[in-house]
Amino acid sequence: MAMKRIGVFICHCGRNIAGTVDVKRVAEEIGKREDVAFSTTYVFMCSQPGQKLIEDSVKKYNLDGVVVANCSPTLHEKTMRNAAARAGLNPYRVEIANIREWAAWPHEDNPDAATRKAIRIINATIEKLKANASLEPIEVPVIRRALVIGGGVAGMQAALDIADSGIETILVEKEATIGGNMFRLSETFPTLDCPQCILTPKMNDVAAHPNIKLYTYSEVEDVEGFMGNFKVKIKKKATFVDWDKCTGCGECLRVCPAHADSEFDLKMAKRTSIYIANEQAVPLKALIDENSCIRLQFEKKVKEGKIKPKKNVKICSKCADVCEPNAIHFQNNEEIVEEEVGAIIVATGYEVMPAEAFPELGGKYPDVITSLQFERLLAPSGPTAGIPRRPSDGKVPESIAFVHCVGSRDPQNGVPYCSRICCMYTIKQAMLVKHAMHDAAVYDFYIDIRSNGKGYEEFYHRAKEEYGVNFIRGKVSKVYKVGDKYRVQGVDTLTGRIVEVDVDMVVLATAAKGSSTVKEIAKKLRIPYDEWGWLKETHLKLKPLETPVGGVFIAGAAQFIKDITDSVSQGSGAAAKVMALLSKPELEKEPLLAKVDPEICAGCGRCKDQCAYDAITIDPVRHVSVVNEALCEGCGACSANCPTTAIQVVNFKKGQVVRAIDVLAEVF
């Protein structure tokens, strides 16, 4: 039944609203309505006295509906609903009229129009409110387990924090070891810690934690279900080695005759075909790369009928021959395991654009590499033991040029945004080169130095003053080969001169992008991502860890490129979100969900195909749509695509919305 005793509360928001909108006049105009029992203004409706005003008025005037005219409902809808609920009014009989962002702010120059518009917005909101139903939250049971996707520093931190709270956590990592990109780094800015030293304790904690179940060399294959109740299929990729038996002794690596590029060293070194990701890998287990193993390639070709094996031919089995525990079986042991969890954190990290993407900057030459590759050459545990050598001839370079903003801040050739970490790591790399080779000439081409972190600016000055790195402010336009050297052509915008230097190596700080596998995962989880592969948070400022899918959170560089400090903080933050979610035996869910009128529904399935949450099925017997309330997020895409609006979101019914639009669309 339509409401007849509505209370309207108009917020001044200090001068934010009252400075432009004549709130007194608004209250008077609205007060004239037959269905409005009470209307008033108050300086801050969100303050404690403001909330008290709602509580008292609901009781005093026996209100059956409340409109609060203030700011965006994303800020204080819940505050106002709770206030009304404390006075005994169903919270879904409270609506927000956003007169700050919609009337006061955009029309500061025209107070009269802003006031009339505010009245219009409130009238429209009252029209919508009048047909609101009283609703009760929906209760959904919760599985007290969590899944973390990505075993980099953010994912590990999240898994450790959740596990420490007593919740069983599953950590899935696509590579053969946890550690992520951080484990590839030489040293970290601005403290110059060795990541291998500071990260290994965390990696070992993950491996040894009684509440963490670790799947490395595994990928999330499929996700079903909803907040509190996800069913996840995890694919354990084929290793051809029995990891229960493998001791990680490395004997097999010494005899393997086949080689391929090392994933861990980002093509800066070769590894054997049977390999362990790196010497400190967790878990320390060997696996065979099917594509380069002589035996597996041979067996594959035989299976495909491409070659016929001769009798008595001895196929390579050198690794298996030396394996004492008999762990190497050459059998494809790919396996799908299923896990049930209540919450998911996506921490899939980042990638950098390859040097090859920038041929004009010499990306095609072997000695022009990305900064991440250069990290491996600087790392004491890396293929060159910390003294960089040219990939082409192994020579120790006497001069190196670093180029900032390669692809970053460059929408034509790369990405429009600043990749955030490049300034600092490039400064660090320049410093480390100077540290290892005092006489090396180091040129650092930058547009601006962005050093906005604790201790970052000081770090930059150390590089300039203590280490004598040549910082040149200006872009590099071209890198080409001259004899044995690479000529870097740039400009020094401080002196206005063209600069040309001949160097032995060029390091490109290429733009960061989301992990290449993230889009697949995002689709499985039904969470949004942008064109650069960054996962989209619900609100950049206030909900940076949340996604629109309940129970799915994001952490670390998967959301946007960030440094270690921020990644670790986000890992802990997302973990706290998960712990809060899983701390209750049952979850309360907003009841503002889609509902089907089976009398009208023709069962055509247009809603089903629009549903991003797989919440809709067609009942085969009644031949109508059915909504799974636990899955539905109330977005309304189904309703918009239903030709007859047989499916509608509760309290957003067509009559309500159309009447609100009618009011808004009247002649102004």
Binding site: I600, D609, H623, N641, P643, V658, E666
Partner: protein, 355 residues
Amino acid sequence: MTENEMLKKFIKDAFEKGLIEAVMAPSATQDSYTYALITKKEDVDKITPIAPVMQWNGADMIRRITKLKKSERKLLAILRPCESRTYKELVKFNQINPENIIVLTYDCPGTVHARNYKYEPTSSEKLIEDMKSGKISKKVRESCRVCEYPTPIKGVGDIGLGIVNTNEPVFFSLSDRGKEFLAGMEISEGERDDSTWVKIHRENREKWLKEERITGGRKGLEEFLSSCLNCHNCKDMCPICFCKECFFEDHSVFDYESNKFYNWADDKDGIRLPTDKSLFHVGRLIHMGTSCIGCGLCQQACPMDIPLYRLFGIVGDDLQKVFNYKPGVNDDIPPVMDFREDELHEFEGLFGGEE
């Protein structure tokens, strides 16, 4: 033996061989033709498989039969090519359960407007004669003259009957089930070339798409619809409009308080009553446009003789081109049911939106 006699014999044989237990086909009434559902071999003579009039869309009839439950008997449905495309489109929309149904379709000579037929009857045989001589009869409806697919298409329906360009009509299969069926009937599949018959229709269509487009924007549209009675007959006859309750007949949306009428009148210097007439047509177009298979029944249904197919058919054709979708001719998913990450880029920013 005429094509109709031949088909009736085919149906009787199918009954006899136990390949079917029912047939749905047109049947003559006093002034027109309706669809008849026949379950006994002796009743087959009551039907006229190829009728000169299409009063209803046959796929719409099958929708009624199988809406709640699949066909419990083996049913043979004789459908015109446009109806067989409708059939396929309605299967996609979950409105027809195709299990247990065999669809037979044929080279179509077109149909006469139902009202014209009432006052000036003609026979299918005459229309077929014209077709065989390569002419589209002047009597047939506008939508038939500009039909894009006047002959059976592989994958749409199960059995085709070729009539043009052949001395004796030939049966051929359109699907695996059709192949099996014909084998069961001990009929060997034949061939005929229908390209000329298709070509003259396509030429007509191209010309029609250019010349009959409603121009003049909103005013042109209002003029085009000016005699509309708001009877919603076009919607009732449209096989794609399968909703149980039309949005445009929903009183929670289309009942207004008096002030709304007055405000409109203020704003627009007077309004026409009843309101929402053009809105109904435009709204319907949005709902069914991408799936309009071109049967033209909207136009036949209009009591005021508004050539509605020029609206729904031509704008529908535009929409279908935008989404690269042809309703009812293949297994593509209708654009309204499909999520495509990359689409409509050519329209981005068209309305002053951000890039």
